[in-house]
Every structure is written in structure tokens, then in C-alpha cells.
Amino acid sequence: MESAQSAVVNVIPPTAAKISWWGRNERKLIPYVFLAPFLIIFLVFTVYPVIDSFIMSLHDIDSLDAGEYIGLDNYIRLVTKDARFGKSLVNATVFGLATVFLQLPLALALALALNSPVLRFRTLARMTFFMPYITSAVVIAMIFRMVFEERYGLLNGMLGSVGIEPIPWLRSADWAMPALILVGLWIWVGSNALFFLAGLQTIPEELKEAARIDGASEWSVFRNITFPLLRPVTIFVITLGIIGSFSLFTQSFLLFNGGSGPRDSVLMPVAYLYERGFNNFKLGYAAAVGYLLTLIVVAVTVVQLLLFRIWGKD
């Protein structure tokens, strides 16, 4: 008892003077003590800015003052007149589709290989595939600027050895997006495979063994048992992929030297927000870009989740 009370004195000095009162009300008040530090920071630096950004998006702001209220004009301009914003959404969509249709099958195949009992050097493989995921986007962009270098880059050097002419990866509007998608594959196929692997390892081996004893082929075991049971992980990976595609910034921005690529070929929505907000100081307009972008991401995610619900029913 003695030590318990002194612990209270040590940790909560303001109420320590009234130990008996605190003792009576401790159970009721303690959750607020635990919650308060988080809640204050959360309300000030997350909830308030989310609300304030919306208010800012309804204003025409050139600097840090309040600006002039213009209703939904920023949004109307974005949707009806702003071709560059449209271009950035198209770019993000292309990148997102590549994520879903290139990254996922590759990641799943890799995960199945990683889960195979005949695999050697398993731990080393897991560590290797985790590396790009944890390396900073700045470092990755800097490496790949050298890899994609037209005359002396590693990739063109390798392609040249099999007789392919040098590709202007970072200089041509046609090749900029494929280059960015390749970087995306390099970063995320391995880590997504590890997520799938975590899912695969929750599927009981007996279930698959029973099906095999009943004469099911390996393909039908995968089609009817493994893949349906991977549904939660698949949803998780696709959702993260879509959100990631629409929030991609550092890789595209730095791979193309703080720009948007030739003819805006890799202009990403967040890079556009940055340009509007911090190069042109149109803070209200930039806030509108942020809000509209978020609405789009939420809508796409909801549609995707609904599609998965339909898939789950049959």
C-alpha cells in the first residue's frame, strides 16, 4: 500500500495533495489522465487542421492571412478548368492500376514461393525483400536516377548487353511513367509478398492436405482454399496500394529532379498540391486539391471494398 501511494505521488503531483479524494475517484478519473496527452495533441494537430483545411479551401488565399471567402469556387475550377489537376489524377490512376495488376500477381507468386517448404536461404530472402520497403524514398530516388541514366545507367547498360538501344527513361514523356512504375515494383513487390506470406502462414496445412487426399490438384487447392482465405490480406494490400498511389510524392518528385517529368508525364496529385501551395502560395486552392483528392481516394476505396464484398458472396 505504502509503495502504491508513493507511486501516485510521483506520477501525478497536482492531485497528490488530496490523496483521499483521488483515492475515492481514481477509477473514474484515471482514463482521462491516460487519454489527455494524446487527445490534446490529436485535437490540435490532426482534428483541427482537417477542419481548418476545409475552411481554407473555401477561400482565395495568397499568403497566410484569412483571404476572401469564395464558396466552392476552388473546387469548381479544379473540376472544370484545371487540366493539370486532371492530368495528375490520370497519372495516379495509371500508377494505381499498375499496382493492382502488376504488383499483386508478382507479390502473390513470390509469397507462394517463399512459403514453399523446399525453399533454401529463407531468412535471407525475407530480409532482402524487406529492404526496399524501409529504405527512404529520397535514397531510392537518388539510386534510380543513376540506374535510369540514359548513357551510363545500369539499366540501359544491361539492356545494351542484349542489344537493346538506350531508352531515354527520364527524358521522354513516353518512358517516364514506365520508369516510375518499375521503381514502384522494385519497392513494393517484395514487401507485399511478405504481407501475403504472413497471410499464407495462417492457413492451416491440414485443410490443404485434406483436399489433396480427396484428389484435388494443386491449382484447385490454390483456387478454392488458399486464395479465398487470403481475401483479408488481398484487401489490405490493394487498399494500401490505392492510397499509396494517390499519395505518391517523393519518388516521382525527386526522380525527375523536383519536377513533374517531361510534359507532366509523372505529375502526381500531391506534387501538384505542393506546387500550388508552396511555389505559388495559393494556399486555399492547394487545400481544395488536398480535400478533393481525399474524397476521390475514399470513394475509390469504398468502391473497391464493395467489389470485394460481392466477390466474397459467390
Binding site: A7, P37, F130, Y152, A198, P232
Partner: protein, 275 residues
């Protein structure tokens, strides 16, 4: 049958090996480039490893840029933010997992909403707030605003839910105060969760680019990410030095992550696998 098994064993190993090779080659290239003279980086034939070995890039990095200062800044802010994040999310996660209080459901809903909210929705207003607080070019701008994420609260709540109530009640019957129950019973039991929160928070600060780019403009306040990205312009250092800086900046995070890999993946997929 036997041949089929051989075949699948070989193909599995080859698939994984090729994947590993593709993953590792750019890192090897970075390592090689950091020890190469600039002239060799832009010459034929293109090789993965240096033909002439030099330390000039590292010397240029340490003598002609503020690299050491950037390293210090990054370590300090990442460390303090991590400390803040683990404390706050453990306490709030405990409150959400084991207590009832006024507006609990509402606040938890708020946490869940921000879990899925992308950063760019609040970026502009957060920038304004930080400017008004006078926090630009200040460590506080990096440490405080994103210290608690919805994800870390959610993660800690999940971990603390699995702590049996009987254990807490037993401690109460023994006369332990609520604070000491938290420190001596709950915290030791959820160490793996705290580890995940700590690592994710540390890595988020270490690797972030957009936010520091907006709030830091003074050279001596730069973090590694900003420093490395801007090295080419004002310092007129060569590409090899950038590769050297990039390499050295990757090492701490690589060591931490590879040591804790299993815990991190388990933490990240906590929502996914349980569905």
C-alpha cells in the same frame, strides 16, 4: 512424380533468387558508386563495382556539406518523436482498451477515421498552424504534430485488449494504484506492440521528405532526407558523394528493421490477417 518435385524445388528457388538479385543490385550499385571517382561513374563499360577505389566522395561529404549536423538533427528528432509516440499511444491505447469514459465511442471513431485519412488533407492548415506557432526551422515542428497517429493508438489498443482483465483486477485487490498497474502490469506485457510503434515512428521521421521540406529551410536544421536531396545544387558535390550520404543514412534504419523484422510484419498485418 519425383522429377516433378525436383522441378518445382528448382523453380521455387530460382524465382526467389532472381527476385533477391533484382532487389539487391541497386543497393550494391549505390555502395560501388560511393567509392568511385566521378569520372568513372560516367564512363564505359558500366560495371557494378568500382575499377578505381577512392574515399574522395566520403571526404567531400564530411568536409563540404553539413552532413554530420543533418545526421544529428535526424537522430534527435526521430528519437524524441519515438519516445513521445510510444508513451502517448500506450496510455491512450490502455484507456480505449480497458476503461469506459465520456464520449469513448466518439473519440475512437475519430481515431479510426484519421487512420485512413491521407496526410495531404491536413497539410496546408498544419503548415499555417506551425508558422503561427513560430515552429518553422524548429525541432518541435518535426517532433510534435505527427507524434501520435491513429494507427499507433489502434495498434496499442489491440495489444492491450489481449491483456486479461483478471490480472488488472488482481493487482487492484492487492492495492496497486492505477498508475502502477499501467507501468508494472500493462507495459511489460505489451512490449512487442511498443516496439512496433517505436520502430514505425522512428522510420517515419527518418524517411519523411514532404513535411520537413515544407517546414525546414535553414541549412543547419535540415534532416538527412532534405540534405541528401538538395546536395547537388548549392554544394556542387558530385554524384558519388550523394551516394555516400545516401548509404550512410540508410545503415541505422536497416539494422533496426532487419533485427526486428518479424515483429514489424506481425504488427503491420495485425488488421489484415485477422480481417
Amino acid at each position: 512424380m519425383r522429377i516433378g518435385r525436383w522441378f518445382s524445388a528448382i523453380s521455387v528457388n530460382i524465382i526467389v533468387f532472381i527476385g533477391m538479385l533484382i532487389t539487391i543490385v541497386p543497393f550494391v550499385f549505390m555502395l560501388g558508386a560511393s567509392f568511385r571517382p566521378e569520372a568513372e561513374l560516367f564512363s564505359y563499360p558500366i560495371t557494378l563495382y568500382p575499377k578505381v577505389f577512392t574515399l574522395d566522395n566520403y571526404i567531400a561529404l564530411f568536409t563540404r556539406t553539413d552532413y554530420v549536423r543533418w545526421y544529428f538533427n535526424t537522430f534527435l528528432t526521430a528519437g524524441l518523436r519515438t519516445l513521445l509516440a510510444t508513451f502517448l499511444s500506450a496510455m491512450a491505447g490502455y484507456a480505449f482498451a480497458k476503461f469506459d469514459f465520456f464520449l469513448k465511442r466518439f473519440f475512437f471513431l475519430l481515431v479510426l477515421v484519421t487512420l485512413t485519412l491521407p496526410f495531404h488533407v491536413l497539410l496546408i492548415s498544419l503548415f499555417k498552424l506551425v508558422v503561427n506557432l513560430g515552429w518553422t526551422n524548429n525541432y518541435l515542428a518535426i517532433i510534435v504534430p505527427s507524434a501520435v497517429t491513429g494507427f499507433s493508438i489502434f495498434l496499442m489498443r489491440q495489444y492491450i485488449l489481449s491483456v486479461p482483465d483478471e490480472l488488472l483486477d488482481a493487482a487492484r485487490i492487492d492495492g496497486a494504484s492505477e498508475m502502477s498497474i499501467f507501468w508494472r502490469v500493462v507495459v511489460p506485457l505489451v512490449r512487442p506492440g511498443l516496439g512496433v510503434v517505436a520502430i514505425l515512428s522512428f522510420a517515419a521521421t527518418w524517411n519523411d521528405y514532404l513535411w520537413p521540406l515544407i517546414v525546414l529551410s535553414k541549412n543547419e536544421m535540415y534532416l538527412l532526407s532534405i540534405g541528401i536531396a538538395t546536395m547537388q545544387g548549392p554544394y556542387e558535390v558530385e554524384y558519388g558523394a550523394i551516394m555516400a550520404g545516401a548509404l550512410l543514412s540508410t545503415i541505422p534504419i536497416l539494422i533496426i528493421f532487419l533485427a526486428m523484422q518479424r515483429h514489424i510484419i506481425a504488427g503491420l498485418t495485425i488488421g489484415a490477417v485477422r480481417g
